[in-house]
């Protein structure tokens, strides 16, 4: 916000002052919005809307949709700029213009997210029945209603594949993080660099790699476990990086106390470091799960879909949720296209739950110590 004179202090309550003289009402306002600011913003929004409506809808033959919003946006910027210039001068007007542009363009990301979530819910909830979680798609006629059958095959596959991937990558990821924070040595830097590079490997390549290494050489059949291994590659860097950050903020004096008491390095890690960072490590695991639960590409390459529930992840094709969505989108059966939305709703909900759980656990205080170790996760705004 620009520097300007405040109207008689509506925000004095935020300043704790006891007994002394009340703050001068003409002090400079560095933050916050005065009534004039709000009025200006609202006026500019309304005025530009009315103008755009008149020109766009009534006077010309244009109509509707994206074009209107774009024209309104530019009309708003001009109006807002002109009003600010009138009251505060050219410099402040430029500042306002920049702030308005940055805010509206930046919020496009949120608009995109909300538009997607709303659309998924709106499309998905029609055909969602409890039996989605108890029945599979086996033997369901292409002419059946979208509510027929269910996604059990995909849910079983997702749970088993992601579970196996977690079992493999969690110990490995945490061990790598311990290596990066406690041991390091000559290969520390390249390991870190490659962990970063690995997090950028597309999941389709992870799937391709497992196929090249294990399936083409007949070590493994195409199966759910092959998908798990591919997911491990996508999961590992997420777990490693998050765990590393968490382990790094364990206070040094806890370590030093342990060493001073004669504890070995291993005991320090086992008894001090990991328990202190426990919540953070759980968060790392959940973030890893959230990262891969929506990956369809490894399933396309390493397992292939099957409408029937397959409980055995080591043999035969095994579906998972993103793969089911993918197959249902590609399907030429209209009911399948609707089922894709239902499965998408379930998957998105699952990701949301994981996401909220990860944050909730990260915010909890670590067990065993009284230090708020995870203050970094609560950091707000520029310090």
């Amino acid at each position: 916000m620009t520097v300007q004179h405040a109207s008689p202090a509506p925000d004095t309550a935020t300043r704790p002052h006891s007994g002394g003289p009340p703050p001068r009402s003409d002090r400079l306002r560095l933050r916050g919005w005065s009534r004039a600011d709000v009025a200006e913003l609202a006026g500019a929004l309304l005025g530009s809307f009315a103008l755009t409506w008149l020109v766009y809808e009534e006077l010309t033959t244009l109509s509707g949709g994206l074009g209107f919003v774009v024209c309104w946006f530019f009309a708003f910027l001009v109006t807002y700029w002109a009003m600010a210039r009138n009251r505060l001068g050219a410099g402040a007007a430029g500042d306002r213009l920049a702030a308005a542009t940055v805010a509206s363009v930046g919020l496009l990301l949120v608009v995109g997210l909300v538009a997607m979530l709303v659309y998924v819910v709106a499309k998905g909830y029609h055909a969602l029945r409890p039996q989605f979680f108890t029945k599979d798609q086996y033997g369901v006629s292409p002419l059946a209603k979208p509510t027929a059958g269910g996604g059990l095959a995909a849910i079983v596959g997702s749970v088993e594949q992601v579970g196996l991937a977690t079992v493999i990558s969690l110990p490995l990821g945490i061990a790598t993080a311990v290596f990066l924070t406690e041991v390091r040595g000559r290969i520390g830097r390249p390991v870190r660099l490659l962990t970063d590079a690995m997090s950028g490997i597309p999941s389709v390549l992870a799937g391709l790699f497992i196929f090249a290494l294990l399936i083409l050489s007949h070590v493994l059949p195409q199966s759910g476990f092959a998908v798990s291994l591919a997911l491990t590659i996508s999961m590992l860097p997420t777990i490693t990086r998050t765990s590393e950050v968490v382990l790094r903020v364990v206070p040094g004096d806890l370590r030093e106390a342990s060493y001073a008491l004669g504890g070995s390095e291993w005991r320090t890690v086992r008894r001090i470091l990991l328990p202190t960072a426990r919540n953070g490590l759980i968060t790392a695991a959940i973030l890893g799960v959230a990262r891969v639960v929506g990956e369809a590409a490894p399933g396309i390459i390493d397992a292939g879909s099957s409408p029937k529930v397959n409980w055995n992840p080591f043999k035969g094709p095994q579906e998972n949720l993103p793969l089911m969505i993918y197959e249902d989108i590609k399907s030429s059966v209209p009911a399948d296209n609707i089922r894709a939305w239902t499965a998408a709703l379930v998957l998105v909900f699952l990701v949301l739950v994981l996401f909220v759980a990860a944050r909730a656990i990260a915010r909890r205080r670590p067990g065993g110590t009284r230090r708020p170790v995870f203050r970094f996760l609560d950091r707000k705004g520029p310090s």
Binding site: A98, V102, I301, I329
Partner: protein
């Protein structure tokens, strides 16, 4: 006293062995990452040998068709189309992400800022296939008028020219979807470096009578340049590897697509997923070779990006 002494010696003798095992285990875990990357490269190389041997590396990189049965295939057009989607995505994602990052780090009060951060992270967690389906069903009809308008008014630029009347499944729409998917990465990196802009210089700029925007332009953006460049490359690395969202949105084409607005687009990863089921052994080997190309492309881009980002943003950094 003697008892304690012997215990101490006992302890000192035992300690190294425990730690030797611990250190060795941790080193092995660390080395696994190094080994894994090497094994990925070697496995893809070995499996693509047959295809690369058949056509030669030079031909493979330039051939613009994909008929493995006839021994004629290459990533000439695929690579071009992949980069096109990546570039379109960046043209959209860079300004949007930078504005989002500035909004988070400079313009929002703390509560709003942390809410925005959460939303951006949530955007990053959304499944790729859902993005794709949303792009196909929601975005495609709504973007059509914009494509039409661009084609009508900017056709003098070759990329905006159209030779057919269908706008669905274009590079442009794929680029928009991918932009939304890679924006969180760039936003996270940029916002992290913006936060680190020295407060002394910020305050100096304001104290000299500069406006907030002036301060951002002269202090925050120059300070964050490394992070912006690195984050952009990181986002590009993600954009070229995006698979399922692209497969779902595009109408695949085998030729080089210069006109971004018209129907027909492709990328290496999308092509792998799309043609996987119907490939014979030589076709699979050819797809492995395409995968190897993509692997090298993303590896180089990502490694360079993380070097640049780490040089700018010290201490932890965003963990995406």
């Amino acid at each position: 006293m003697a008892g304690t002494g012997s215990k101490l010696i006992d302890f000192e003798v035992r300690r190294p062995r425990q730690d030797v095992i611990f250190r060795a285990t941790a080193r092995v875990a660390g080395a696994m990452t190094l080994a894994l990357m090497a094994v990925i490269f070697v496995a893809l190389l070995v499996r693509s040998y047959r295809a690369l041997h058949l056509v030669g590396i030079g031909k493979f990189l330039t051939t613009q068709q994909w008929v493995p049965e006839a021994g004629k295939f290459g990533v000439g057009s695929l690579l071009f189309n992949t980069v096109m989607i990546g570039v379109v995505a960046l043209v959209i994602a860079v300004p949007v992400s930078l504005c989002a990052a500035l909004l988070i780090s400079e313009y929002s009060p703390p509560a709003v800022s942390s809410a925005l951060k959460t939303l951006v992270e949530l955007l990053a967690a959304m499944p790729s296939v859902v993005f794709g389906y949303w792009g196909l069903e929601y975005l495609t009809p709504r973007i059509r008028p914009l494509s039409q308008w661009l084609a009508n008014h900017l056709a003098f630029l070759p990329i905006f020219k159209v030779t057919s009347s269908s706008f669905a499944g274009s590079t442009f729409i794929a680029g928009i979807v991918v932009a939304l998917m890679v924006s969180p990465v760039l936003t996270a990196v940029a916002q992290e470096v913006f936060f680190q802009a020295p407060s002394g210089q910020r305050e100096a700029a304001l104290a000299l009578g500069g406006t907030k925007w002036g301060m951002i332009r002269k202090v925050v953006l120059p300070f964050g340049r490394g992070g912006i460049v690195g984050g952009t490359m990181l986002a590009f690395g993600r954009a070229v590897g995006e698979t399922v969202a692209v497969v779902v949105v595009i109408s695949a084409t085998a030729t080089r697509q210069v006109h971004i607005l018209q129907s027909g687009a492709n990328s290496i990863s999308a092509w792998i997923a799309e043609t996987w089921g119907e490939s014979n052994p030589i076709g699979i080997s050819a797809l492995m070779a395409a995968g190897l190309t993509l692997f090298l492309l993303t590896l180089i881009v990502n490694a360079a990006a993380s070097v640049i980002v780490n040089r700018t943003a010290k201490a932890g950094g965003p963990s995406l």
